[in-house]
């Protein structure tokens, strides 16, 4: 029981407090590439703190506008809670893999609600883009996880990484998953929905103060959840061969490795972000569609058992 509480505490800490730090690190990495000192790695905490302390200004009376950030926050949180932290999966049940996809989509729906609830062509355009992007990338994510599920004969996110066997299709599935996670996370060149210089952060354009802070925080948590998924799929299958994950120390060690890999991946993403320009929505969708078709092929290969 004690072990559970410790893991639960660590998990909560990771989900709530780690994302801003990761963002801070990412900003620092980008700054270094750009020959700058950059902000302190805790800058994102300061930003969130100041936003959350600020009284928002409401451009509309609609309830949807006010609750959208909370929906987004809740869905990001829910997504994160479905993932394995070491051996500990906060919320686990068979078929949670569908729930994961569902809550991620929920997040985007919250963005769309936010975008369409005000009469502003920037937020509308942003919501539009979010919708198009999500519609084109969710299938890729689904296919990627589907390949894993097929391979592991499991429909639970906690179960999949522990049961997979290495086949050629699995390696392709990792590539697919990496791509889907990257795009869904809204990293450059796929930060199309929140493009600052084009449509002024899209759906978030009209938000301010506390509500904006919630949204920003939720987005960071969502990124964490996506990356954590990838990291878990990467780390757990390897770790389970080295150490017994189900023990307390084994779980802690796995968690530590997960964290280290997460930091590394986040830094790599920062480097990719720093060396790319943003794509146009039609270019991104075309690319996603192509990847999706490739994904179907992979699914076929996996179904054949290779």
């Amino acid at each position: 029981m004690m072990e559970k509480i410790v893991f639960a505490l660590i998990t909560v800490m990771i989900i709530f407090l780690l994302p801003p730090l990761l963002d801070g690190i990412s900003r620092k990495v980008k700054a270094k590439i750009q020959y700058r000192v950059g902000a302190s790695i805790f800058q994102t905490y300061y930003d969130l703190q100041s936003l959350l302390n600020m009284e928002p200004i409401l451009p509309t009376e609609r309830l949807a506008f006010r609750i959208a950030p909370y929906i987004a926050f809740a869905s990001a949180l829910a997504a994160a809670l479905l993932l394995p932290f070491g051996s500990f999966v906060p919320v686990a049940f068979t078929g949670d893999f569908f729930v994961f996809l569902y809550v991620l989509a929920m997040f985007s729906v919250a963005m769309m609600i936010a975008g369409f609830s005000v009469n502003n062509s920037y937020t509308n355009a942003g919501a539009n883009r979010e919708m198009m992007l999500i519609l084109s990338i969710e299938p890729v994510l689904g296919v990627a996880i589907g390949v894993f599920a097929l391979n592991a004969h499991s429909l639970s996110i906690g179960g999949i990484p522990l049961n997979i066997t290495f086949t050629p299709s699995l390696i392709l599935a990792y590539v697919l998953l990496a791509y889907a996670v990257y795009v869904e996370g809204g990293f450059i060149p796929f930060d199309i929905a929140e493009a600052e210089t084009e449509i002024l952060e899209g759906p978030l354009c009209e938000y301010s103060g506390r509500l904006l802070g919630m949204f920003k925080w939720a987005m960071l948590i969502k990124r964490l959840a996506l990356l954590w998924l990838f990291v878990s799929f990467l780390v757990l299958p390897i770790m389970k061969n080295i150490i017994d994950i189900t023990t307390f120390t084994g779980g802690l060690a796995t968690l530590a490795v997960q964290l280290i890999v997460l930091f590394i991946i986040y830094s790599i993403i920062a480097i990719i972000e720093a060396s790319n320009a943003r794509l146009r929505i039609d270019q991104a969708i075309r690319q996603n569609t192509r990847v999706f078709l490739a994904g179907l092929v992979v699914l076929l290969i996996a179904a054949l058992g290779w």
Binding site: R27, A31, Q34, Y35, R36, V37, G38, A39, S40, Q43, Y46, D47, Q49, S50, L51, M54, E55, P56, I57, P59, E196, T197, L200, E201, L204, C205, E206, Y207, S208, G209, L212
Partner: protein, 272 residues
């Protein structure tokens, strides 16, 4: 310098009210590697709704007035900091009383008031009259201000540095000095004006001072003309700058010409 910052995160929105672009580019410039305002927690955002502070540039044209007012009202009610960047925004700058520039009717358009009125303050006062809250205002004059100047202003806002400037008022009591140059004042002014056309206003004083030193030394000797020539040769060998040497030679010729003319009683009104 080690003071703890009052604010750790300042998101700024950039509001141009008809500026010439100079200040606007300098604002972007503080984000670039050499200045990197992100260190101080500054982030440029695209929507006034996200902003803690408004960076205002420009003399506030009438066409911009409505948009600027809307933008400030769109900011969250607190803290609504206004950072006024550039001479135009501080007081209207060189454009201050042109016909398309907005001014409150109380401000007049051709008065002799000081501090000089104009710029964004006209809008802020209008907003305050309407009962809108507007937070602290900090003025950063300059045309355009250097990026360091803007950083300094922002650092002041964050409580990292203290202000250095204070209003000054002098009366006759400070005393009056009428410096005596080693050469006749009329000749000095003539040469000074001549130099303006040769090396420009900026370098002339230094060159003229050096020249007068040499003249002073030369005049003490028996044959001033030859002595001055020798001194200038030495000086030129030391300074190794074509332009300064050129000026020295020119000054030498001019000096004797003007001096001879003056002592011959010819009138010289070179300077005005």
């Amino acid at each position: 310098m080690s003071a703890k910052p009052k604010l750790r995160s300042v998101w700024v929105f950039h509001l141009n009210t008809g500026a010439c672009n100079g200040c606007d580019i300098e604002i972007l410039d503080i984000l670039t590697p050499f200045y990197d305002a992100e260190r101080l927690g500054v982030k440029l955002v695209g929507s006034p709704r996200h902003a803690h502070a408004m960076l205002v540039t420009g003399p506030l044209t009438r066409q911009c007035y409505y948009g600027a007012k809307k933008a400030i009202k769109a900011m969250p009610p607190k803290p609504r900091i206004i950072v006024v960047i550039g001479t135009c925004a501080c007081s209207g700058g060189i454009f201050y009383n042109g016909y398309p520039i907005y001014r409150r009717s109380e401000s007049g358009r051709e008065g002799c008031e000081y501090p000089r009125r104009g710029g964004i303050i006209e809008l802020i006062e209008d907003l305050r009259d309407e009962g809108e809250y507007v937070g602290p205002v900090i003025y950063i004059p300059g045309c355009p201000p250097r990026p360091e100047e803007i950083l300094y202003g922002i650092a002041q806002l964050l409580g990292l540095v203290e202000k250095k400037l204070e209003g000054e008022h002098y009366t006759e009591e400070v005393g009056f000095e009428l410096p005596e140059a080693p050469i006749n004042e009329r000749i000095r002014l003539t040469l000074r004006e001549k130099l303006r056309h040769v090396v420009g206003y900026f370098d002339r004083d230094k060159i003229l001072e050096d020249f007068m030193e040499l003249v002073k030394k030369a005049e003490e000797s028996e044959k001033p003309k030859e002595e001055l020539k020798k001194l200038i040769d030495e000086y030129n060998a030391k300074i190794r700058d074509v332009r300064i040497s050129f000026c020295m030679r020119l000054l030498e010729n001019e000096y004797w010409r003007v001096r001879d003319a003056l002592s011959a009683g010819k009138e010289f009104v070179y300077w005005v």
